[in-house]
């Protein structure tokens, strides 16, 4: 039996983290005197936040692996995250699901040295968080460990990265668990909406939206996983974010030693990853579900980053914030929720994609009879963004919110390391962060209207509602809106899909 040593955290907490100690900023604001009548009359001391320099944390190991190290000795904890250039985009057309199952089984399936049970036992005894997962265009592997267990934690972590066993018995358990998850695909309206929205906007075939069928899952073998790991998990383009209670020089040595001899993966498929070629069909789509509330998503293709100095994305950021991104201060929330009480929340987001255009989306859930009214209001708000200037007050509130909350991006060592590592992964210059506040500050009301006109095209909007159509169609009791007044009065009823085959279920 072994117990880990505890540490005296009391003093470490007071010592302050890597970011340095900020001046006691409130001192100037506590002057005696009466309470002012309104909060605008308060005066504040200056607070000068200096953006950390990404290059000062960047290291390149022999062989080209990039490591960002942000030290913070306040607590005896270390976090490591590796980002690799693999994911669903490296799957072949008939290999859906392979990337994510490979990543999951790297953690679940043991290593050449350790059975799955032994690996789990060691990780849990060290209280180490070790994980691996793959998305559409990248995969990550993480280690979260207390300092005294760092060495053993790194051994396990690299064992998982380089020598996964993909144990057959564990694979069977993992596959059967995934199958149970699939059976639940139609239980929650939100899950139905997420799936069908992906299909409506990116098509059913693109690797970022396709879903795996039970038949396809049954086909995936241990050999497939091992081959995919060999083929796509390698040290090229590998970026580490390391933070916490480490010494930079020492941890670089530890990583270098454990990376030695790791063979390259096969050349990647063309980089950057291919975006979907699918063109979404505008109009209203509905899926039947017997629930009291309709779940609504409305949207259209947006744009992608091409040049970080381009003022347009910053104007789009502010535009979306005023329309529906800014919570209670945004127009959608004001009208749909607080004026009318039609929904618990109503939000918009404007997706500026990395490798292909993201989506502009509005989402809310309203009781079936008021879906039409809430939708009508949302569409009106889109029109208003196009047809008029936002007020000076809206612009000021939105911009100062972005500017004054910006320091939180670098609030912890882990956040700082991951932010800069992510720059490296997507090819964003570190200067993006230094320039961010002035670029937001430069946005004008005219800029906001110009991007709204350019990007919010009412004719291209697709709407999906999951709910009970007989109640949704007629609209509200007060007769303020009906579904046939929207989207040209046309609706396409989509069938539910069989959860295991994803084939439409005839009704």
């Amino acid at each position: 039996m072994r117990l880990l040593q505890p540490f005296l955290v009391r003093f470490l907490l007071l010592a302050g983290a890597s970011g340095g100690v900020f001046p006691a900023a409130v001192a100037g604001a506590t002057a005696p005197g009466p309470v002012v009548a309104r909060p605008e009359q308060l005066t504040y001391g200056a607070f000068n936040f200096v953006v950390p320099n990404g290059d000062s944390f960047r290291h390149v190991l022999p062989g080209g692996v990039v490591v960002y190290v942000v030290e913070d000795h306040a607590l005896p904890l270390v976090k490591i995250q590796a980002t690799l250039r693999t994911g669903a985009f490296r799957e072949g057309d008939r290999e859906a699901g392979l990337a994510s199952l490979t990543a999951a089984m790297m953690r679940q399936g043991g290593t050449e040295r350790l059975s799955p049970e032994e690996f789990d036992q060691k990780a849990d005894f060290l209280a180490a968080g070790i994980g691996s997962s793959a998305g559409a265009t990248s995969a990550i592997a993480t280690l979260d460990v207390i300092t005294p267990a760092l060495g053993e934690g790194l051994d396990l972590y690299f064992d998982m990265l380089r020598h996964p066993r993909f144990d057959e018995a564990r694979l069977a358990v993992e596959k059967s668990t995934l199958l149970e998850g699939m059976k639940q695909r139609n239980d929650d309206a939100g899950d139905i909406a997420d799936r069908e929205w992906d299909f409506l906007t990116r098509g059913e075939m693109h690797y970022a939206s396709r879903r795996i069928t039970a038949a396809r899952l049954a086909e995936i073998s241990r050999a497939d996983l091992a081959a995919f790991h060999r083929r796509t998990w390698g040290p090229e383009h590998l970026v580490f974010a390391v933070s916490g209670d480490v010494d930079a020089t020492a941890i670089l040595g530890e990583l270098q030693r454990r990376l030695a001899g790791w063979k390259s993966a096969e050349p990647a498929s063309p980089w950057p990853p291919q975006g979907p070629q699918f063109v979404p069909q505008p109009g209203l789509f509905q899926i039947e579900k017997d629930i009291p509330q309709g779940k609504v998503t409305i949207g259209e293709p947006a744009t992608q980053w091409t040049n970080y100095a381009d003022p347009e994305p910053y104007a789009l950021t502010v535009m979306n914030d005023i329309l529906g991104g800014g919570g209670f201060t945004a127009r959608l929330m004001k009208r749909v929720r607080s004026d009318e009480g039609l929904a618990y929340g109503a939000f918009s987001q404007f997706g500026i994609g990395t490798y292909w255009p993201g989506l502009f989306e509005i989402g809310f859930a309203s009781k079936n009879p008021t879906v039409a009214l809430a939708t009508k209001i949302a569409l009106e708000e889109i029109d208003k963004m196009r047809s008029g200037l936002v007020s000076e007050e809206e612009l000021r509130v939105s911009k100062s919110s972005f500017i004054d909350t910006f320091p939180r991006t670098f609030e912890s060592a882990a956040a700082t390391a991951r932010t800069f590592a992510s720059d490296e992964v997507v090819g964003r210059p570190h200067s993006y962060w230094t320039d961010y506040r002035s670029r937001i500050g430069a946005v004008t009301a005219a800029n906001v209207q110009a991007v709204a006109k350019k990007y919010l095209d009412p004719g291209k909007l697709t709407m999906l509602v999951v709910g009970k159509w007989s109640e949704i169609e007629a609209g509200d009791a007060g007769g303020r809106a009906k579904m046939n007044e929207l989207f040209g009065g046309k609706v396409k009823h989509l069938p539910l899909r069989d959860p295991l085959t994803l084939a439409p279920i005839s009704q």
Binding site: L3, L8, G16, G19, V26, L75, E180, D187, G345
Partner: protein
Amino acid sequence: MKRDLEKLPGRPRPLIAAAAMALSVCALSAAEAKVTAPAKPSAQTTAKKAEVPVGEFTLANGMRFLVVTRPSQATVMGGFVAHVGSANERPGITGVAHFFEHMMFKGSRIIGTRDEKRDQEIMEQQEKLQDKIRAAYAGQRVRYRKGEIADPFDPASRTEELVKLEDDFKKLVDEQRDLMVKDEFDKIYTEAGASGMNATTNSDSTVFFITVPANKIELWFWMESERLLQPVFREFYSERDVVQEERRLRVESTPTGRFDEQLNSMFWTSHPYKWETIGWMSDLKTLSMADAQDFFSTYYAPGNITAALVGNITLDQARTLAEKYFGRIPKGAKPVPDIVTLEEKQLAEKRMNAECDCQPQVSVQFHTVPFEHKDQYTLDVIDSLLNGQTGRLNKSLVLDQKLASSASSSQQSLRWNGSLTLAAETKGDATPAALEAALWAEVSRLQNEAVPAEELAKVKNQIVATSYRNLENPFFLLIQLLFYDGWGDWHYLNEWSAKTLAVTPEDVQRVAKFYFTPENRTVATYSRKAGTVAVEVPAELAGLPPQMQQQVLAQIQQIGTIDDPAMLEQMISGIEQQGAQIPPEMKPALDAILNAARAQLEKLKTGANSGGGQ
């Protein structure tokens, strides 16, 4: 409750469960640490007692403050807990504690309107109309009781008088809106660079919080004291609609939401934990401004509130600002009523068998103990033994027996009472009954076998690590201070670990035997509602086009309903005869149907049911 962070409390929730196992700087004695871990001299110091330094003071009006100074932050996280939750409600006003939390964002006499005087007049007129509307709905409930209408709140069943009253009311709402500065409370904070404004209500407490740039902390004192000093519940009735939408979202439109609510209502016999924090829909539709004002004056008195600040602020700065701003609030006029109803001891097992659009699953819930009861620490250790990748439930039900797709335990010691719940979802052919038996076997193991030393050491190592992890995030530290204070005492933060690490294998057995008895349990089983069953695709169908898979699956489903062996035998011989003549691409489909028919025949012959065998 606003925005995305909030949870519906009243049932075990991950945040709270994590908090319960989380914070405290652990105090292992040197003697316990048998093997010294690889040293990191700068950080490694053993300590008999270590704690998070929390400064504390109380104002003359009774309001308490907790302060944790973290000079490395560019921000201060600020919040307060009102010691009131849904347990303080009664039938008729269920949901008011949570609804009231929403109203706290509606501003004050000054914040939120352009014309303070007219604003007040309109609200008085609104209330007079609402009195008439409430009387009209009392009439609707009479019609409902007599069976004249199916739903007293259906807009289509309204009387002419009610339609007119509601139209008149809407005009007053529009007039007030013209005078309003919409969501000004939020706007002022947003423009100042504050973020994450939110609140959450549970059965015992209501917690409000926000993050403010460190140089603007005085704004927090201004705003929070303002809304406690002179709140105005504008947009009361549209917000009441918002809360109903929230109920539809969280309870009524989720696969198990309404069942979970009824289960909770069955689990508690006498205690007001019986109703969920969101409240019953019929109460939400009738809550009045008077209910809310009464609630505020009783429970939001400064003596019933504790504030906490974590970040770049010192104790002295906090005290100076607190006296200036919160010191203005007068003491409460009457004492806060205690909750006197004790939970009646459960005498017999309770059981609910539900059907829903959900994965078949089971839960077994036991009455345990409230916050800081001496047995809480042992129950927390039991919870840890059961949970996690190498926890007993995952090892036994998921990995070894392969009965479950997931299995977990959830231990909740709340202010007035507690419970421990074991839950699992099925896999493959396993039934909820089989899962229940497997969960019960783990209970027996806890009762009859001493926990091996290695396993207990694992749990204690995790406690040490988690305690550090929960100090990392200042926001989480704030939330823990407020939640613990809401349950009874924030000092739990610094005292819990020593008490938990002192738990022995004998404690585990004693507690397991005492609380985990058949008569103290409430069991819920959930089966998939007929017609929504997802059918597994047999491997031999993998290569077929999806449409054909569907057709074959439909036939297999039908075969599963045949209970006449003779009919099945006839069918099998028919298919076998056809076998040679069909095109090869159809062979897999035929094989699958044949296998299904044989399996069904076998099942009928052996008399096997689908498992569990109760």
